[in-house]
Amino acid sequence: MKAFFLNDIKAQDSGSATAVRPAKVKEVDSLCPYCGVGCALTFVVDEDKNRILYTRGRDGAPNAERLCVKGRYGFDYAMHEQRLTQPLIRKAGSYPKGPLSSAAKDSTGARKPGGRVDYNELMPHFREAGWDEALDLAASRLKQIRDTHGGGALAGFGSAKGSNEEAYLFQKLVRVVFGTNNVDHCTRLCHASSVAALLEGIGSGAVTNVVRDIENAEVAIVTGCNPTENHPVAATFMKDAATKGTKLIVINPRRPQIADFAEMYLRPKPGSDVALYNGMMHVMITENLIDRDFIAKRVEGFDALKKVVAEYTPDRVAKLTGLSAADIIRAGRLFGSAKAAMIFWGMGISQQTFGTDNARCLIALAMITGNVGRPGTGLHPLRGQNNVQGASDSGLIPMVYPDYQSVKDPRIQEKFEKYWGVKLSPQVGLTVTEIMHAALKGSVKGMYMMGENPFLSDPDINKVRKALSALEFLVVQDIFFTETAEFADVILPASSFMEKTGTYTNTDRRVQIGRPALQPPGEARQDWELICEISNRMGFPMKYDSVEQVFDEFAACTNEYKTLNYQNLGAFGKWYPCADPKTSQGEMIVFGDTFPSGKAKLVPAQVTEPDELPSNEYPYVLNTGRVLEHWHTGSMTRRSRALDTIEPEAFVEVHPLDAKVLGLSEGDWVKVKSRRGEITLKVRVHDRTIQGSVFIPMHFREAAANVLTNPAIDPIGKIPGFKFCAVGLTRLGSRP
């Protein structure tokens, strides 16, 4: 008779070759480091070997034990052999500065080496240094630029991947020590326009209700987003709701998988959003499907809106959007008659040169129907990064201090001058895109980059390349040698999510604690300590005993976080605002009675043309975005064995009818060209993409979509229009 193999200590003691589980494992309750859903999970760790073995979903408010492929298998980047382990200083022979790797150097469209950065190409240009030398050099050069040219010559990019504490300290360093408000982060590239519209409309940029409140909604609009791939666990709750009766109106020119669960799927022409929403409002107002009580009590500007949308008859909107008038009427009726309706939106709305107008329309849709502040109603811009909400709350924005307190208001400036003990600049700082422009012009000369990789994430990479080369001094703090770090004078090895304690605020406004599972490799250090070190060396002492102490300082200067601390956040966190953390989980739904701005302000929008239109040479519209398995510039996910195995390469998705015209079939190599540059990649033929438009994911350095994108920005949100530029495609005969 055969016996079972049982994995117990006895089997290990007997030296059985099959007993692979380490005798001692540690379990750490923490969070997923990827998207804004903020799934709670447990890392199971082999402490002796400093390795995470696997993860397990926890019963957190955002995820109820569910995870997606990234949360489940994407943690191994932290243990990758390419982690930076020693401070690096650029060698004298490697000046004048410029890109180093062949991937970053080459501005032609030739096929570039894919996958991970080749360290053999980069490391010879740098020498290892001790911490004191590297920090002294960084601080003294930044100080020298500040003292010679003024604070305005410095700028800092923080990151929405960092914790609230890191974001708070980073903006404090820039404002207090650099003496400028030139501090921004990647939120500028994702929801800046939504936040601008929300602040203008209701006085708060955060979501008004949580994702899982969709179970109480009768109708939900899911527009400009692809939650199945980009917010996978949130998507499972939307689908839960849909199977239980919530009617989804899914709107996206590129058909997202969640459309399979929709009552209505609408595929408007790219860039025609304003027309569609104005058309729906036209229907609702004409048919009296609006909440007049709500409008009278809580909304201003309705008459002006009514006047504008009156021009958007279903027939006219049908022409503008390519949809049928019947569908526009049906969508308006569906949304207008619902007792409770909510709106989710993503980058398809915000990443347009008229992104603010798009968001204004969605806000107006909710306001004229009274769909906010009750269960199943609300506005939910789905946040991308795990801490987009928190990094913005912490003041990593050039116009505002923590908690959206304006730098232009002298009383607020005075308050923070007292709080931090120094004079502050009254001048609004520059945004991400403006800082790059200023670097190119030479007015910004020194930068501190914490965890951002603008070389791949910003539009028009060829311009970013010149801007980064033009900087007099650049210090990059990161966990890998990113493309951006190739332009650095000093590189500081930092800690990954799995190596630090910190709070992260998810898309639902839930503040949760991430806890360390690993020791940082080599000499790598905690990000928050490095900010303090730079500050100390530039003459402003920053001393904290712990991350908790930083949180307390941050929370105390805000309204939304002031009741929270590490003790009451506990293992599962709280939603803010949270009046009494002892008895409450915080508010799932806000603005039931009033808005922070008092009444909601409606701002009507007119349809405008995209900044760049297709032409004979560039006949297709390029849409960019993400895929399920990868994250932004790929520095994490392309170093995850599982994720990079499942999705190893860049591609351009082409509609079958367009492919036929171009003579393209699946797997062909193609050159994609825009007015700014060109890239070479493989074709995937799929009817998910609307005819006349192609889709390229942004993650792949060998064929970076942002070589092509247009740096034109939304005038209010200052967000680039990543979702719309004109491109041409040419088939290549053979593999390049």
């Binding site: 008779m1 079972f4 049982l6 007993a19 390795r51 696997y54 995870l67 499972t236």
Partner: protein, 224 residues
């Protein structure tokens, strides 16, 4: 959700009285009393289906009832831990273990094979009808980069199917075959790695046996 307006039912479980809203399963009522009834196919996160029968209890009727699906009734006297019930569960464990592979990938990696935990509990040391597993006739599927499939260790509890279809709504996993050849399948019986699986790992997380396991953790542990 609608707990509030439901009628309350009185019953005893192992002699302890308990009052629950109408419609509550015996399994849930027992949990309120702190009585842990073993299950393989059920989890509070899922719709109960009562296929593994491990949660059987004696309600004084001719046959035992699967407590995860059986609603409580007024005046019910439930024996959840008697020798007779235990005897049944031991037999069920033996039957589920027939043909079970000698090495369960779950037991070897994450050490939480729930079927083997029951084997331990009931002191079943040898594989019943072990010959049925010789040559692994039910097959394996190693095509997914992250999830290993060992059909030999599958007890058809349907947890993966509910995890995939009802929790994550990916609608990839289903059943195929009849009788001895019945097994789980991906899409129209494709290899997992070539199916529409999005590798969320829910099936692997909810699987109670060595049937669906984490390939990465196995690789990670064997690397060293």
């Amino acid at each position: 959700m609608a707990d509030d307006n439901r009628k309350l039912i009185n019953l005893t479980i192992d002699g302890k009285p308990v009052q629950v809203p109408e419609g509550t399963s015996i399994w849930d009522a027992a949990r309120r009393l702190g009585i842990d009834i073993p299950v393989l196919c059920h989890s509070p996160r899922m719709r109960p289906v009562g296929v593994c029968r491990m949660c059987v209890v004696d309600i004084g009727q001719r046959t035992m009832a699967a407590s995860c699906v059986r609603p409580c009734e007024e005046g019910m006297k439930v024996e959840a831990s008697s020798a007779k019930v235990d005897q049944h569960r031991k037999m069920l464990t033996s039957l589920l273990l027939s043909d079970y592979p000698e090495y369960s990938a779950r037991e070897m990696s994450t050490s939480n094979d729930q079927l083997l935990a029951l084997a331990k509990k009931y002191a079943i040391q040898d594989i019943p009808f072990a010959d049925g597993a010789t040559g692994m006739p039910r097959g394996t599927d190693m095509s997914s980069p992250v999830i290993a499939v060992d059909h030999q260790a599958c007890i058809l509890c349907d947890k993966c199917i509910r995890g995939c279809d009802e929790l994550q709504h990916n609608d990839v996993i289903t059943r195929t075959g009849k009788g001895y050849t019945a097994r789980i399948a991906f899409d129209l019986n494709n290899p997992m790695g070539e199916s529409t699986c999005v590798a969320c790992g829910e099936c692997m997380a909810v699987c109670p046996t060595g049937a669906l396991t984490n390939k990465s953790v196995f690789a990670e542990m064997q690397v060293r």
